[in-house]
Each structure stands twice: as C-alpha cells, then as structure tokens.
Amino acid sequence: MKVFHFHHFINNLKFIYHQPTAEKVQEIREVTRIERIGAHSHIRGLGLDDALEARQVSQGMVGQIKARKAAGVILEIIKEGKIAGRGILIAGQPGTGKTAIAMGMAQALGTDTPFTSIAGSEIFSLEMSKTEALTQAFRKSIGVRIKEETEIIEGEIVEVQIDRPATGTGAKVGKLTLKTTEMETIYQLGQKMIESLTKEKAQAGDIVTIDKATGKITKLGRSFTRARDYDAMGAQTKFVQCPEGELQKRKEVVHTVTLHEIDVINSRTQGFLALFSGDTGEIKSEVREQINSKVAEWREEGKAEIVPGVLFIDEVHMLDIECFSFLNRALESDMAPILIMATNRGITRIRGTQYTSPHGIPIDLLDRLVIISTSPYEEKEIKQILRIRCEEEDVEMTDDALTVLTRIGMDTSLRYAIQLITAASLVCRKRKGSEVDMDDIKRVYSLFLDEFRSTQFLKEYQQEFMFNEMVPDEMETEAS
C-alpha cells in the first residue's frame, strides 16, 4: 500500500510538473495527425469568377492576375476532357507562385480528376529507370471511370468502442457494433479503420457505409430514431432511415481508378513466383498494352469512360535530355494527360548536354508548350499573402509587425518572410503575448539569416571556413 502511495505521489508530481508541456504535445499531436499546414495549404482554388476573370484576392490566391487567367483557360480545356497531351510551362522567378498556381488548378479540378504532382528530380532512382518513372507518372494521371461491384457494409452505429492499451503505447483496440432493422453485428477494427472512424467523427446513431475493399467510410446521416436529440446538432444534419435487411450488401458503384492502379493490380506476381521475379517496381510493357486494349474495349462497350487528368512536374529543369525526348513522344499519345511543368530557370544548360536553352528545356519540346509566366509580387500583394498565411497558421499579428514583415519580404524573399511568421509566433507565445508585434519580428530577423545576409557573412569570413583555398573562379567552372 505504502509503495503504491509513494508511486502515486511520484506520478502526481511528474504530472503536475509536466502538465503544461504534456498537454500541449498531446494537443499538437491530435492536430498534426489530421492535417498539417504545408507551404501551399492556404490555396483552395484559382480564385476566378465565372467569366474566368481573376479576383485580386480569392481562395488563397493573390495577384498574378494574368497567369491565373491563363491557368483558368487551361482548366476549361482539361474539364472538357477532349484534348489530350497538351503541355503547359509555368515559368517565373523563385517565389512567384508557380507551384501555388498548379496547386490551385488541382484544387479547382476536384477529387474526381486525377492530379499527379512530382518534382523533376523524383524520377532519378535506382529502383527503376527514368522513363519507367515518367510512364508511371503519366499513367497515374489518366483516370478510368468504371462501374464495379463491391461489397459494402451499411448500417446504423450502435456503439463504437476504442480502447487504448493500459500502457499508453501500442496499438489501439477497436470494436464497432452496427445494426439494421433486422440484425446486429459486432466488428473488430484494424488500426486504419480506427483512424478513419475517428477522423469521420462517427458516433452512435450515425448511418454509415463502409466499402470493404478500400475501407472508405461514408457518413450518410443520423438515424431518425435519434431525431429527438436535435438540439445537440447543427441544422444541416441529415436524417436517414435505418437500413433494412442484411448489413453486408453487394452494390454497383462508379468510381475513378487510374491506369497505373489497373497496371499494378494486373502485374502483381503471386505466391512463390514472386520469389523469382525480382520485383523492381517496374511494370512490363506487355501488361500495359494489354490494359490499354482492355480499356479501349470497355470504352467501346460503354462500360468505362476516360478521365484525362493532369501531371504536374515541378522543377522541370532537373530532367535530362533523355526525359525530354521521352516527353516529346509521350505527349503525342492519345492517352496522354495534360502536362504542366514549372521552372525557375532562365537560359541555362540542358541537363545531360553541353547546350544551353531557355528554361533548360530543348527547343523542340518548348515548341509544343504554351508558356505562362509569373512576375514578382508587389508590396501590396506580399502583404496580402502574409496576412493569409497568418490566418492559415492561426497567428495574430499587429499591423506594424505585418508592415515590417512585408518590408522584409520585399527585401529578401517571400518564402523567408513566411518562415518568420511561424518563428515569430513561437517567440511571441514564449513571452506570453497574444499578438505578434514588431519586436518579435525583429528578434527572429536577427536570429535567422536570410540568403543575402548569409552570403554577406560568408564573403566577410571566407578565410576562416574550410576549403577556403579554392579559388572562386575554379568553383564557378565546377558549378556550371
């Protein structure tokens, strides 16, 4: 008993001591697991009106009116879905919103149009050849809408029970009881299912469908029998009848799969044969041909529909001459998606050759592209973007601080200014302030160097760094 008390005391002490941090950590964990704030998570679309005119500030987009309008036109082409294999190049200085425009296009297209985003350097891997990686990226960007029979579970939730293990770490154990008007069944849940149930905030009284093959949970609404606790929920809650009959049903659903997914389903070697195949992740061209003809067959029979999507290659100057010639050829296929590329290079060497070319892309490929160019942001626009980012990161900032930060953004770069937001808000929180003010900005500005100041510093103290004996113009030849 004594031991227990002592232990308890220690625990309590720890608890009190650690409480604030522990709570914080817990809180942050819950949030991060659901959605993290990325560099472009404030982008929700292109910010165009019905006439394709760009609004000055909308859907997280600021400025770049011309580029956004152009992107809007491209979007219409994609939505019509008739034209295959168009190439678009977004060119502009660093930090002028090239990736943001591509992300905006992805958001505007919605989830039913495949949008694949890769970086140019991603295709260089030892696992597979460059062209294979590009082919896979191409095929990931072509969707096929097809009817498929799947097994679903449809019922009203009676109880969700998720237990954390007593030790605090390890796998959670979950149980889900579902019912229809005729029956009731208890299901055991795997980790993924527990997570998606928590994410969907599914609770007793909800009517849900679970796709057995994909594990996707869809909430249909609340059960009518729960209608009396109406006060506890919003006005937009939909009430539905409890399903009848069996919980498990076979249903025909229309969904979009990408060509790459079909490739993978059909190329997986099974059983002991997998031992001999030496799986490199590459897909045989015979399999692809077979699938192309199968898809063409489905299309003729009216069973399937092709949804051409978008392949976005960021930092496209990182591709080499072989990839570019592959792209030339691949764009001509009638199964090709719309290809969007982005680059921040001017006239530079084409990778893998001694030739220079605009944007580091060979002229023959450039000839097949339409080019959208972005221009540097103006002060007003930078301020607006910073304001949007503050909102996205839940940071309160005084007007003065924002003005200073905008100035910093103008003098250094937009990215640097955005990075300072997070840092400054942390500094502000540490001094228990509620709003980020000028001093916080100054503080982090002195703590973190931007690229320009760092270069200055290096120039001054060059002699004290390692390998300084290297002659500058020798370095230059090596770099070029």
């Binding site: 029979e149 229809t180 299901y187 079909i262 389903i265 059909n266």
Partner: protein
C-alpha cells in the same frame, strides 16, 4: 437441366490431387473463374466448395466459400475490419440427403427463428424475432439445375447454440451428384508429394 452443369464441369480444365484424406479438385472455367472442391476420400462427402472470380479491373479476387468453412486466418490490419468471432457464424455443410446450414453462436431459443422460402426471388431468409440475426441466401445447386425453392423441404432445429437449417435435396440433384461421383472416380489424381517437375 442438370446435364448443362455437368457439361460445364466436363469442359473445364481440371486438376485433381489427394491430400490429407481429401480428394481436391480444381476447376478452371473458360471465363477464368475458378472453383475448388474437396471430398472426403472414404465417404465421398462434399467438404469444401469455393469460388474465385476475376475482378472487373483484372487481378485475382479472393476465395468465396459456398460449402465449408474458410480455414485461412484473416489479417485484421490488412482487412481493416472483420466480424468479431462472437458473432453468429454461417457455414454450409451438406449431408447425403440434405443441404444443410449451421449457424453457430446463436443462443436464442428455437421459437425466435423464422425460416422462409422466397420462391420468386430464389432464396431463403432466416430472420429472428428479436432482430439480432438476419440472413438471406440462395442454394446455388438448385440454381444450377434450374429447380425452384420449396418451403415444405425446409426443416430447422436448434441445439448447443447452433441453429441447423436443412433442405431436402430434390431427386434431380441426387441424380446429378451420383453421376458426378462416378465421373470423379474416373479422374486421375496425383498423390501429395509427387508433383510433376520436369526440369526444362
């Protein structure tokens, strides 16, 4: 009509193997669908019959049990969710004269169950008064012979937490099974272990 089914079996590609006192026969039909059956070597009772169909998008599906019980353990993580083993478990296990279904883990007394034949929809429904269990199933054997479902052939009993539903096999089905058994005896079966392995 039963002949049609026999002819289909005849035309399928067959592999036969005797293993663990079971005669295992694997059929591959022209459309790529597979069927596997297991018979007791001594009594010639059907122990397992399962099907595997090609998915719409290609690739192999999973085995679906028609007769017998799934013996492979299920991986909860890969599945996402599975029925808890405390739930009623529905298994078909035939006898010589009857199609028979056993539903284990059903503790409720016999007057809780209703077993109704729906001849027009070609299936049988087991329902419960207390709304805890409900099952709709058809008899593929009857479908293959194009025979109707008849309420008067159904009997059911309850003992040891198990509900047993039996359906008397019609004459046509018995005849077909007899014919099939004769065919099966003629089939050459390889013994376990002597797999044909000619190095090429």
């Amino acid at each position: 009509m039963a002949d049609l089914w026999l002819a289909k079996l005849q035309s399928a590609q067959k592999t036969c193997l005797i293993q663990d006192d079971r005669r295992k026969i694997h059929f591959t039909f022209a459309d790529g669908t597979e069927m596997a059956e297991e018979y007791d070597v001594k009594t010639a009772d059907l122990l397992v019959r399962k099907w595997r169909k090609k998915g719409t998008l290609g690739g192999v599906g999973r085995w679906e049990m028609e007769v017998g019980e799934q013996s492979l353990p299920v991986n909860l993580e890969a599945e996402g969710l599975m029925e808890s083993n405390a739930n009623p478990i529905f298994v078909r296990k035939d006898t010589k004269s009857h199609f028979q279904w056993r539903i284990r883990n059903l503790p409720y007394p016999i007057n809780n169950y209703k077993v109704t034949a729906k001849p027009e929809e070609r299936h049988i429904i087991i329902s419960t008064v207390n709304k805890k269990y409900y099952k709709k199933f058809n008899i593929p054997d009857l479908d293959r012979c194009h025979l109707g479902i008849d309420q008067s052939s159904i009997e059911f009993a309850h003992a040891n937490n198990t509900l047993i539903v039996s359906y008397k096999k019609p004459q046509e089905v018995l005849e077909m099974e007899r014919k099939f058994l004769q065919e099966m005896k003629k089939m050459k079966a390889s013994k376990d272990g002597d797999v044909d392995c000619t190095p090429s």
